[in-house]
């Protein structure tokens, strides 16, 4: 089995589980999110960062949950709010 296809185990150290989830978020075609921070504390997995839409926020949580199903996913990822351009800066 390719290392990429291996599923993490709840026997793995949280350090390696977090690394595997982060890698999955970067490489899974449903997400391709490189900037999501993954922290594991006890039986909870925290996701932090920003994505461009609500569907992508849900996909991040789904991919994380698949890769560490024994942990409770806390999805603290936010969706970027695109506001009006605002005032210009003179250089």
């Amino acid at each position: 089995m390719d290392q990429k296809d291996q599923v993490a185990s709840h026997h793995d150290a949280p350090h390696y589980v977090a690394a595997r989830v982060q890698r999955a978020l970067a490489e899974d075609e449903r997400t391709y999110e490189l900037g999501i921070r993954v922290d594991i504390r006890g039986d909870q997995l925290f996701l932090r960062g920003q994505v461009e839409g609500a569907e992508r926020r849900g996909a991040v949580a789904a991919v994380a949950a698949e890769n560490a199903p024994w942990l409770t996913v806390r999805n603290e990822v936010t969706v970027v709010e695109v506001r009006e351009p605002g005032e210009e800066e003179t250089l």
């Binding site: 391709y32 506001r83 009006e84 351009p85 800066e89």
Partner: protein, 243 residues
């Protein structure tokens, strides 16, 4: 002879957010003379997403100049994406330059996606295994091309457009361990050798907007998650009061 430069990066367009960004571009001609797009136009780098990007940025009332980012290479369709953008009237820089005329002022834009390697004192070198040498050589060759392109520009103002960062300043907030994958000092060195009014980049979603190169060129990280607005506008002029 002022020029107002609008800039944004990392729009990561896909089917799920089609049309969402376009709405924010309405009225851009009131605010800016040109729009620069600093890479990561797509999410998966597919031709389908390339078409969405082309639709989102086509027929704007101001010229649009773009570079690709790492996401735009993910499906090995970068050439097709470039063709789609160019067919839509968007200029795409690939380590070369273009000149935009705004009224009586001429703006030179140099750039490309850039690449990584790290920053002075904490960077990779062209030494050892062929993979490491190729990694660093890629950035050095890009920097050399930008240096030559800047040297060849005789315009009122010069802006460099990149996906990767030339400095650490605008990466503040990112984990320091990944700085070498977010940019390279070689890009700054090339620009400082010739001078420019502004260096625009994206890629560092958790970074900050403002920085400066060792040679004094203003750097702006325009990644959408950093700006949290449709685009930033930077006014270049001989005298600040002209802006």
């Amino acid at each position: 002879m002022r020029i107002r430069v609008a800039a944004v990066g990392d729009v990561h367009l896909g089917e799920d957010i089609r049309g969402r960004y376009r709405r924010r571009l309405e009225g851009i001609e009131e605010r800016a003379d040109v729009l620069l797009v600093a890479g990561d136009l797509t999410r998966h780098g597919t031709p389908e997403e390339g078409r969405i990007v082309a639709d989102e940025f086509r027929d704007l009332p101001v010229p649009v100049v773009a570079v690709l980012g790492n996401h735009d290479y993910q499906s090995d369709a970068e050439d097709e994406i470039v063709d789609l953008l160019r067919e839509a009237g968007i200029q795409v820089l690939q380590d070369d330059s273009t000149v935009i005329t705004c009224g009586d002022a001429r703006l030179g834009v140099v750039g490309g996606k850039g690449f990584c390697g790290g920053f002075a004192g904490k960077c990779a070198s062209e030494f050892g295994e062929p993979e490491m040498k190729a990694f660093v050589r890629h950035t050095r060759e890009i920097a050399d091309l930008w240096h030559k392109a800047l040297k060849g520009l005789d315009t009122d103002h010069r802006v460099v457009l990149s996906h990767y960062s030339p400095v650490k300043d605008t990466l503040t907030g990112e984990p320091p361990e990944i700085y070498p994958f977010l940019g390279s000092y070689l890009l700054a060195e090339a620009v400082d050798a010739e001078g420019a009014d502004l260096f625009v980049h994206g890629h560092a979603h958790a970074g900050v907007e403002k920085g400066v190169t060792p040679g004094g060129v203003r750097v702006r990280n325009v990644a959408l998650p950093v700006l949290q607005r449709a685009y930033a506008v930077y006014c270049l002029g001989d005298e600040p009061e002209n802006c």
